[in-house]
Symmetry: C2
Amino acid sequence: MSRRIKEGPPLSRERVLRAAVELADAGGIASLTIRSLAERLDVKPMSVYHHVANKEEILDGIVDQVFAEIELPRPGGDWRAEMRRRADSARRALRRHSWAIGLMESRATPGAASLHHHDTVLACLRTAGFSVEQTAHAYALLDSYIYGFAVQEAGLPFEGADTAGTVAEAIMEHFPEGAYPHLVEMAAQHITKPGYDFGNEFGFGLELILDGLASALH
Amino acid sequence: MSRRIKEGPPLSRERVLRAAVELADAGGIASLTIRSLAERLDVKPMSVYHHVANKEEILDGIVDQVFAEIELPRPGGDWRAEMRRRADSARRALRRHSWAIGLMESRATPGAASLHHHDTVLACLRTAGFSVEQTAHAYALLDSYIYGFAVQEAGLPFEGADTAGTVAEAIMEHFPEGAYPHLVEMAAQHITKPGYDFGNEFGFGLELILDGLASALH
DNA sequence: CGGCGTACCGTACTTAGTACGGTGATGGTA
DNA sequence: TACCATCACCGTACTAAGTACGGTACGCCG
């Protein structure tokens, strides 16, 4: 140890990553800086570098943290139910940490939690009777849907039920008269309706995909 | 005009955005800086700011440029064929500009090309007989799939046919003995096979989705 | 009790975004 | 033609962020 005058637990890779996730959640990924991170941990910036090599490693790490939060399917269970549970859990995780999708694009080195997650999903599908090739198809499809849905949710200028209407109206104010008639129709007849929540669209697509996969399985 | 001693066309918002896309394509989004952009345009950094307000506006702009590259569906045509054409085109655009997905996550203000694109897709679905609500479902599903597939393609540590195998082997070298058995199986029996190309998975999911939508339409 | 490893830190360098205030050419006007 | 306003471009410099490099003190071991 060293100058451990401070109370509380010592710095560690885990504490650094946890704080990084909290900062990114609270203020967006741009607000996650080495300095802000150090301040939150009540240390000086350079101390962080004794637990991670650089910021890239922090970004890799917090993406893996998000994967660690996703409920794993149980191989051997009803594959539809397990895939649904995993998909819902993944969507919730990606909504809680909407910066994660943006990081995944640039990160080619998966962490341990990601690998374990992927392995378990594959296990579940293979156990359910999908061939290797069918599993590859199914997995690419399911994950594409989950990630893409997260992209859309993150890009939406509103979130949660009923907030969409007002925002949609504010945006459309700037439309030239008569422009984008189908967007306007969609807004008027669907999005601005009370109770509208984009998140509810997730279930429709997921069930459609699961139906399709089921018939591919026979 | 002013000190237009230089040959060539004057600076403009369009030239700035075009150069920004080229830089991001060539070196990743991180290599797109005001200074690198200015150098490419053969002007000094501060000159850029006479055509865009700030870097955020550039990022908004290049995302919209990507949307502008996507082939629009023709409302009134065969909706399946049109949706397929649009989806393939979108996937190619997002693969050419793999930084785009990462930007979409943080960008809540769509540009003119995006709006026009979305409006046209909605038009095509509505014309094909989908109700407003069905159109909302279909659109969320299709775009989720397209975006999510792009996320996965961008995150892959390899690209193109036959390059996956060697990379997969290199990654698995670092696995503990016996770890991730299903990932290993997938790699051994599918990914490392000659001719494997993750991009080929796109068609499977797309057709499954279109089938499902067709039966929802009746 | 002296030396050493470890955990933390001070300083400073580099790169990036961009605020602020020029500066000179051009085109319009008297 | 003389003037001037405007507009496109730029020089300088400030702030913030990542991080290299070399301390520095605490506790432990011998």
